[in-house]
């Protein structure tokens, strides 16, 4: 195509569209490519989003008819064994009033589409149904635009932003990112269970469009390093469970077996009882952490979001990091264009901004978290078993003295694993997240 652009963006997910909105807001001529029939068509349905970061891109998002599923007023954390589990939650009315939209659930298919529409209204040329298959480069290796899968499909741009998600053949092709190793990604499956809104309200004790998120740890992933989540949507519940891809290979387990078992867990089953399964999808998550982040910029290009392996596993804030990195990439590009210099040196500011923001600081904080989980499978095995024993013992009223029960629990815990191991676990757990 003859027409040239200031910025070409690959991928209309949270990262790419955030960048596009900011760029267009500053009058930068931007083209945004999405391989799906429409933005969101290829994305995991359902997830949690964060209002604060969205507001930095679209301050008036609430007035723009953002398709919210439920506003989250309570977060629960479950630690489960096969038969039972612990439930820790925090609910606060402030999240329904003053801090409304702090966290909310959306259907990604609808959200991404809505978000890209906001970008379009700001002047971005959103081009759906088009795959970027390669990057254009000049003699010096500088990126000068993109090549799409359509005829006459080359587009030149001063800067190209790669926001094409975790599964990026482009990254592999261009060599901008090391090839992803199985242990650096999780495979997650999600199922959406259809239930009337009143039933969801009732089962979670909420009303007025509010909802609950639940993060689930423990012996629910066949002993692998993985987690589950359970989110409320308007009239459905999203169940999601995933584990490290390398573990799936070693443990020879199938994702759908995990989710079937998860659905039958005594803590989960009553919440979804009677619901019809609406859809089932599988997707990767980058969980290699800080040490797998590629170089974030170079001559004529930047990388943001999942494509840059920005995912902070313990807080499942992928889309938040994606939006923040997209925004910072755009802010960097606006200044670089003003300077008329989109070289690596000029774009280095992106690295700076990221390093100073919560994005890289959080990634760094949890640097050791992935390896910690990977090397301490007792979190998913012995520990939940010992915890269940303890829970059952303490709650069963049977004439045995509490002191005796404590002894029993302690003995059982030591049977599961040695005292030294518990200490090690605590110590390395602390070091991984401190």
């Amino acid at each position: 195509m003859k027409e040239a652009f200031d910025v070409a963006i690959v991928g209309a997910g949270p990262a790419g569209t955030s960048a596009a909105c900011i760029l267009a807001g500053a009058g930068v001529k931007t083209i945004l490519f999405e391989r799906g029939e429409y933005p969101g068509a290829k994305n995991m349905s359902g997830g949690v989003l964060y209002g604060q970061e969205l507001a930095r891109v679209l301050p008036d998002f609430a007035e723009r008819k953002l398709p919210i599923e439920r506003n989250i007023i309570e977060s629960r954390l479950w630690y489960l064994s096969k038969e039972g589990g612990y439930n820790l939650g925090y609910r606060d009315a402030i999240f329904a009033t003053e801090r409304k939209h702090n966290v909310f659930t959306v259907g990604r298919a609808r959200f991404d589409r809505w978000y890209a529409e906001q970008a379009r209204q700001k002047g971005v040329l959103v081009v759906p149904g088009t795959v970027v298959v390669d990057l254009l480069r000049d003699g010096s290796g500088r990126v000068t635009g993109v090549v799409t899968g359509r005829a006459e499909g080359e587009v030149t741009a001063q800067v190209t932003l790669l926001a094409d998600g975790v599964n990026s053949p482009l990254a592999a092709l261009t060599g901008f990112r090391r090839e992803v190793k199985p242990e650096h990604v999780a495979l997650a499956v999600k199922e959406v269970i259809d239930l009337p809104a009143e039933v969801v309200d009732q089962r979670f004790g909420v009303s007025g469009g509010n909802g609950v998120t639940t993060e689930v740890l423990g012996d629910i992933v066949g002993g692998m390093n993985g987690v589950g989540v359970l989110y409320t949507n308007s009239a459905s519940i999203s169940l999601c469970i995933g584990a490290n891809l390398a573990d799936f290979a070693t443990f020879k387990l199938k994702p759908y077996e995990l989710i079937e078992e998860f659905k039958q867990h005594p803590m989960v089953a009553p919440l979804i009882a009677g619901g019809k399964s609406l859809e089932y999808v599988a997707h990767w998550l980058p969980e290699g952490g800080y040490d797998t982040i590629p170089r974030l910029y170079g001559d004529g290009y930047l990388i943001a979001g999942d494509s840059a392996m920005l995912f902070n596993a313990p807080h499942r804030e992928g889309s938040n990091l994606a939006m923040a990195s997209g925004r910072m990439a755009a802010e960097t590009v606006i200044e670089a264009l003003e300077r008329g210099d989109c070289s690596r040196k000029s774009l280095a500011d992106y690295g700076e901004r990221m390093a100073q923001s919560f994005v890289l600081q959080d990634m760094k904080k949890y640097r050791g978290f992935g390896p910690f989980l990977h090397h301490h499978k007792e979190i998913f095995n012995e520990l939940p078993r010992a915890a269940t024993f303890a829970g059952r013992e303490m709650i069963t009223v049977n004439g045995v003295s509490k002191r005796e029960k404590q002894k029993l629990i302690f003995r059982n815990a030591r049977k599961e694993t040695s005292l030294l191991k518990y200490l090690k676990l605590l110590w390395s757990g602390w070091r991984a997240v401190k």
Binding site: M1, K2, E3, E37, L125, V126, V127, G129, T130, T148, R150, A151, E152, G153, V155
Partner: protein, 283 residues
Amino acid sequence: MHIVACIKQVPDTTQVKIDPETNTLVRAGVESICNPYDLVAVEAGVRVAEKYGGKVTVITMGPPQADSALRQCLSLGASEAILLSDRAFAGSDTLATSYTLAQAVNKLNATEPVSLVICGKQAIDGDTAQTGPGLATWMDYTQLTYVVEIIEVADGFITVKREVEGGTEVIRGKLPALLTVELELNPVRYATLPELVRSLRQEIKVLGAKDIGGEPERYGLKGSPTSVKQIFAPPPHGGGKVFETASDSDKVIEDFLSTFFEKESSILSEVLSSDGSDHAQEQ
């Protein structure tokens, strides 16, 4: 030559379900697509324009969301797109729909006379295949339906091959003409990037009842003598019997054979009494 293609935005019928209680279509969450036959119609128009010179205008009557189907048609090479959208058009049956389209074609005729109108054979949701013939009748155009090949356009005539019962027929008709087209007429191109970009940026002309004139009582519900009385799903077929093979395979085979002989004895006796294997395959 000015060619008009009529297109309809339809729900992706691979996704549409019928609510068993209310017997109405559940359209919520169902994607809209351009009727597949109509993409073939647009492509055919663009090919004629490319071969003989001219331009293609696409028209649809529908809600504002039909915009996306029109853009898709622009990306295939149509030059202009018109959306006929007005509350007055709501509730149109095929008579009112074809009347509305006819008014729009009349309006185009005033400035850029139309030689050829191309419709799909049918819409995959309504399925009546009446709109095209209705439009040809209102316009008093030559009517060529079920077209599988456009052979030639020359000297004010068009020659096409059409599907008829038991074969095909080659027929020559005077222009202006209206074609309704089959899927096999031509494959639909994959738009080039510049054409796609043009389609995304181009303005779509929106016309209402006042803009196209006509008699108000012929539009929408008022102009529709037919109405849908009931929509219902045919009763589902019962599932087949499953024979578990895990435990005892001899028993399973025995079970299967006895069920088969009970149920299919009539077929079987026929098969056994015939002398060749051909017959058995027909069953």
